[in-house]
């Protein structure tokens, strides 16, 4: 059965290692923070200038000067640092953030991603997404495998304007976990109860299935 948003987030969180610095985009990626194993610690980077983002504040902790990149009120965890936007993106662009997790409209088998602009619709801006995909060491895209009309979002070539090129290595969808390399999507894991055939059918790009594909543990 296809994964829920929470299950996708759960599977994302399994990628993190103890001591990982992680930037989580808005939506499903943000949920991943809730599923980090108790055995490890990760530190959340928020690109508006906060490393060590903590929990949402209690009512009396709310502070207009303490927000995250989603413009939500947050707290800083113990050992956090706060800095300018230039420093924040020096970290990101310079490859110091271990994981970036973000959503996308489309990903293709070259590792290109389209996530910010649909021609004909009003463009609101890319925010920090282009810097994040250009800079992070490991980028995980979370999205549904196909759109609501059943059209695959895993393509041979992205059709929408790109956010970044040759940058995505891992995709976690509601159906599967895939790795991108050598100009193909390599199927690594299936969502519990989802068949390889279903994944194949919903993957428009070149899908490589080698050996038995295990089910995810979520």
């Amino acid at each position: 059965m296809a994964l829920s948003r929470e299950q996708i987030a759960m599977r994302v969180a399994q990628e993190f290692k103890d001591g990982s610095y992680v930037n989580l985009g808005i939506g499903i990626p943000t949920l991943a923070a809730n599923y980090v194993s108790d055995d490890i610690s990760v530190m959340l980077q928020s690109e508006n200038g906060l490393l060590g983002m903590g929990r949402y504040p209690s009512e009396n902790e709310v502070d207009a000067d303490m927000i995250n990149a989603g413009k939500e009120t947050v707290t800083a965890s113990t050992g956090a640092s706060i800095f300018s936007s230039a420093e924040s993106f020096a970290m990101i662009r310079g490859g110091h953030v271990d994981f970036t997790v973000l959503g996308a409209f489309e990903v293709d088998q070259q590792g290109n991603i389209a996530s910010w602009m649909i021609p004909g619709k009003l463009v609101k801006g890319m925010g920090g997404a282009m810097d994040l995909v250009a800079g992070a060491k490991n980028i995980i895209v979370t999205m549904t495998h196909a759109d609501k009309h059943g059209n695959s979002k895993l393509l041979e070539h992205c059709k929408l304007p790109l956010t970044g090129v040759n940058c995505i290595t891992h995709i976690i969808t509601d159906l599967a976990m895939l790795e991108i390399k050598d100009n193909a999507f390599h199927l690594r894991e299936r969502a519990p109860g989802v068949s390889v055939d279903e994944i194949r059918e919903k993957t428009a790009g070149n899908l490589i299935v080698e050996g038995d594909i295990p089910e995810m543990r979520v």
């Binding site: 209690s58 936007s85 609101k124 282009m130």
Partner: protein, 233 residues
């Protein structure tokens, strides 16, 4: 040290010299860390044809958004402008031009402008609409695009405290774009919550040295919160 006393006593003085068609660089991220009183003064002055460089353009009725009401902004350079219905309307009408710039590139363009670096290379935006028309060059086998720096006729900045010499510190994530904006204005105006005496901020804790700052004004701030989220008790 009278020559270093940057404190002015009115918003008129703070923004004196601002004219139509000038470029203003503004600190702030969303509504966090914005120079509320300086923005209000720009509205009051009624100058128009402005180019405004800021990560966002406020919201309807608050922050830089109020400069849209009388169509004072001709061009906006920003990374994200999705919080603002009036912005959308003026954009679709062709009354407003927007240059969408990746957030990190925008921060670096301001920093570079203040630091005498006219251009730099970044991988951000390569192969995307942002890279179109920009020079591409490979370094160590990876393609990068050239981005030019930004400076402004004015920079408007919100700090937590400043001393009379213009040395500033920022509070929490209200720092954001403010330190870079401060370096990139021909005239840099800082609106603060508290003016302190020189020496009160330890030298190594100063975020923005006074050399970048031309004018300091004591402000009052509403500090509107864009998305208040609390944890359940």
């Amino acid at each position: 040290m009278a020559g270093f006393d940057k404190v002015v006593s009115s918003y008129e003085e703070a923004m004196a010299g601002l004219k139509n068609d000038m470029t203003i660089i503004a600190g702030g991220f969303g509504l966090c860390g914005i120079p509320e009183g300086l923005i209000a003064q720009i509205k009051k002055m009624g100058v128009s044809g402005l180019t405004v460089v800021s990560n966002n353009c406020g919201v309807d009725g608050f922050g830089l958004g109020i400069l849209l009401e009388d169509k004072q902004i001709r061009k906006m350079v920003a990374s994200y402008v999705g919080e603002n219905a009036l912005f959308e309307k003026q954009l679709l009408n062709g009354e407003l031009e927007v240059e969408l710039t990746p957030q990190g590139t925008l921060a670096e363009k301001m920093r570079a402008g203040g630091a005498g670096i006219p251009a730099f290379f970044t991988a951000t935006g390569y192969g995307t609409p942002v890279g179109e028309g920009k020079e591409v060059r490979e370094f160590n086998g990876r393609p990068y695009i050239m981005e030019e720096s930004i400076t402004g006729d004015f920079a408007i900045v919100k700090a937590y405290k400043a001393d009379r010499y213009g040395n500033c510190i920022y509070r929490h994530t209200a720092q954001n774009f403010n330190p870079m904006a401060a370096t990139a204005g021909k005239i840099t105006v800082v609106e603060v919550e508290e003016i302190v005496e020189p020496g009160e901020i330890p030298p190594s804790q100063i975020h923005t040295p006074g050399i970048y700052v031309d004018r300091v004004i004591q402000g009052t701030f509403e500090k509107r919160i864009e998305r208040k989220v609390t944890r359940s008790a």
